[in-house]
């Protein structure tokens, strides 16, 4: 028991601030050395093998995959070994060594991820913050002018409004349908087939999806035969055909349907796994108590997978914040359907104003803050 407590709480006997920096330096050193050595080895092997193997792209891809996996394992195994050599878990200072090794090891595990995240995501964010205080070409300091502009911009308000609509509707609808689909398909024999079919839209690119949905929303003037399904149904019941994606406000919902259609599969797969993981005993107990299937679902099952529902919700919410492909392909923000991500894209490539584009990007990022705070609180809960 005594050992386990020292292991799980390694910070207790940790050295002072000076020692912390020594630890950090060692961690950094091992991490970087490990990354460099494994990458260099992988590249060398790749270069050597490539000279022998035929010049076929697929062969190279498989080779890269294998070497990449090998390099990863090599790094994690190697850096772990180095750490154990520096602080051996035996000898006179065993307790101290274990403590030190344990305070370094997490950083070795995190190392490659942190480096890649730093380069691919943190660096661009810092760059955006810098640009948001500069003019269109990123050279001239303009202070808060871009932010001031944003507040007065009508198109920005429109995008903000639409984005909030998307945030309210899409994650809720996709999670709801996903949950229903997961719960129902688990009860029937052909559930796996049904799941696969509902999941199918996930496998379709946004470009493909926009082709598919053109056949739903297509509009031909009244009197000619409709080739869009929705208008065919409307005219069949005697209605007037509509150019759906040009109807302000409504068009946002028609675009949302596409994303819901795609994301329901994602929600279903994850929620179905969670539903299956619910301990049988709790359900059996409820059955004995005479609960109806509906009651079991809402009162027993849903509360138990609440955490997973939240993860799905979060993931889809984040996706919605970033959605631009669908809007770009279907309306490009016209007819009042603009959303933030597409508006940013517009300022970046059509307006060629990196300052304003960056400012909009930072707003998108700021919108995720509540989700971040909530996730930290959840994480704190299960760490305890």
């Amino acid at each position: 028991m005594a050992i386990s407590s020292t292991i799980t709480t390694p910070t207790t006997g940790s050295p002072g601030p000076g020692g912390f920096f020594v630890t950090l330096a060692i961690a950094l050193f091992i991490m970087l050395a490990g990354i460099v050595v494994s990458v260099v080895c992988a590249v060398a092997v790749f270069a050597a093998l490539n000279a022998i193997l035929p010049d076929i792209k697929l062969v190279q891809a498989v080779l890269v995959m294998l070497l990449g996996v090998a390099a990863c394992f090599g790094y994690f195994w190697g850096s772990n070994r180095i750490l154990d050599t520096i602080y051996p878990a035996h000898g006179a200072r065993i307790a101290d060594n274990i403590n030190k090794a344990n305070s370094i090891r997490p950083w070795l595990f995190l190392g490659p991820a942190v480096v890649i995240l730093g380069v691919y995501l943190v660096y661009p964010v810092v760059n955006s913050i810098f640009l948001s205080f500069h003019g269109p070409d990123g050279r001239q300091w303009v202070g808060g002018a871009n932010y001031a502009w944003l507040v007065t911009d009508a198109a920005f308000r429109e995008s903000m409004f639409n984005n909030i609509l998307w945030l309210l509707v899409v994650p809720a609808a996709a999670t709801f349908f996903g949950l229903i689909a997961a719960a129902l398909t688990d009860r029937i024999g052909w559930g796996n087939l049904a799941k696969s079919l509902i999941f199918m839209p996930m496998a379709i690119s946004f470009v493909g999806a926009s082709v598919i949905w053109k056949f739903i929303y297509d509009y031909r003037p009244q009197g000619t035969e409709q080739i869009g399904l929705l208008n065919a149904i409307v005219t069949f019941f005697g209605g007037e055909p509509q150019a759906w994606i040009t109807l302000p406000l409504w068009n946002s919902f028609f675009l949302m349907v596409i994303l819901i259609w795609i994301q329901t599969g994602f929600a279903m797969v994850i929620l179905s796994a969670a539903l299956r993981g619910i301990p049988e005993e709790t359900i059996e107990a409820a059955i004995i108590d005479g609960a109806s299937p509906l009651q079991i679902f809402y009162k027993i099952k849903v509360p138990q997978i609440w955490g997973t529902i939240a993860v799905v919700w979060t993931t889809i919410t984040i996706l919605v914040l970033k959605v631009f492909d669908i809007v770009l392909a279907m309306t490009n923000g016209q007819w009042g359907s603009q959303v933030l991500a597409n508006y940013m894209f517009d300022w970046m490539f059509r307006g060629l104003d990196f300052g304003r584009a960056s400012t909009i990007a930072l707003v998108i990022m700021a919108m995720v803050t509540p989700i971040m705070i909530w996730n930290i609180r959840e994480a704190r809960k299960d760490m305890k």
Partner: protein, 377 residues
């Protein structure tokens, strides 16, 4: 559970019907382009795909052979031919755009100057001139016909063989394979550290990763490509593998950490009591137990990289040697926007592989997910 359902047949039926309804709703749009891609291109543009199995009425304009080709026959100059390329049944015909169906099939219409034209129901036409005619412009004949439903694989042949899709297919595979596998491993270690190792700043790091989930990709394109050019990677497959790894990592870490944090604490603590190191715990306990989560993330990452367009257009060139499938599809959309048959067929070609992969992996997915107890959160 099955006992509950079994005891209420009405409920069972309701469940079956509800699922059937959901499935129908979700597959209908895709079914639409599958059917469309197999239809004849002329029918595709004028009638809904759901009418594919019924005969369609069409008005078409055919052009007879040039008058100068007329042959003398019984004192008149005669041109013969058929207005249809394939099958068809003419109901009515006309010779002026103002009255395209003025005459019933088999009737004779006046063309002026004593010339006449007769169109039979099978499409055979006879034009007779009193004098030897000249001119290169053939007479227009307007036909109202009933066409049987036509299906063809020609659209697929066009797409697969003449539009360079094959090469793009290989490019996409080349991008996808390493970009799917590598991030998972890196993320798994990081996720374990975040879920089960204690160190200062853990909550902050997790929050940062959640925050990074939402970084708009567009913002990172120019700084990263600039970096690539400075380092000397430029536009290459290496660059795009790394980019997909970077962009996929936050979600991978987020999902995997949530999964790993839900694994039973007792197993890990007892292993620690037995003196196992974190590295051993990860390799021998966590990794096998998280296999289902790894598999499901692999599917998602595969789908994203397969379907990605933005990252590929920026970090890979646009030339024939590097163009990926979604890029090809987009170019077809742009340059062949009017050709629905090309669009539908190529869209379907692009989605068929991800769907196959999913069908192949999903058995795995469900089985794997059952193995671990997911508490969630």
């Amino acid at each position: 559970m099955s006992t509950v359902v079994g005891s209420r047949p009405a409920l069972t039926w309701a469940v079956h019907l509800a699922v059937l309804f959901l499935v129908a709703l979700w597959t209908l749009p895709t079914l639409g382009i599958l059917v469309s891609s197999l239809r004849d291109k002329d029918q595709l543009a004028i009638s809904g795909w759901w009418t594919a199995l019924t005969a369609s009425e069409r008005n078409l304009v055919a052009r007879a052979a040039p008058p100068e080709d007329a042959q003398p026959e019984g004192g008149r100059w005669v041109l013969t031919g058929n207005v249809f390329n394939g099958d068809g049944a003419a109901a009515a015909f006309g010779v002026s755009s103002r009255e395209p169906s003025a005459f019933a099939a088999g009737d004779t219409a006046e063309l002026g100057d004593g010339a006449t034209v007769t169109v039979e129901a099978n499409g055979d036409y006879v034009i007779a001139y009193p004098e030897k005619p000249d001119g290169k412009r053939g007479q227009r004949i307007f036909i109202s016909s009933v066409e049987p439903p036509k299906f063809t694989t020609e659209n697929y042949e066009n797409v697969l063989f003449s539009e360079g899709l094959g090469k793009s297919f290989i490019n996409t595979m080349t991008v996808t394979i390493p970009a799917t596998v590598i991030p998972i491993l890196i993320a798994a270690y990081a996720a374990y550290a975040l879920a089960w190792m204690e160190f200062p700043g853990r909550a902050l790091l997790l929050a940062t990763i959640v925050g990074l989930l939402v970084v708009p990709l567009q913002m990172s394109l120019i700084p990263l490509l600039r970096l690539y050019n400075e380092v000397g990677i430029g536009k290459s497959f290496i660059g795009i593998w790394l980019a997909h790894t970077g962009f996929g990592l936050p979600l991978a870490i987020y999902l995997l950490r949530n999964y790993m944090a839900g694994l039973p604490r007792e197993i890990i603590e007892s292993a620690k009591v037995d003196g196992a190191s974190d590295f051993e715990i990860f390799r021998k306990i966590i990794l096998p137990l998280s296999f289902p989560a790894l598999a499901s993330f692999a599917i998602f990452q595969f789908l994203w990289t397969w379907n990605d367009l933005l990252v590929a257009t920026v970090f890979l060139g646009n030339n024939e040697e590097q163009l990926v499938l979604t890029g090809r599809l987009r170019e077809l959309l742009g340059s062949r926007g009017g050709n629905w048959e090309i669009l539908t067929a190529s869209a379907f070609v692009a989605i068929i592989v991800p769907i196959l992969v999913f069908f192949a992996m999903q058995r795995y997915l469900v089985r794997g997910l059952l193995a671990g107890s997911v508490k969630g959160g």
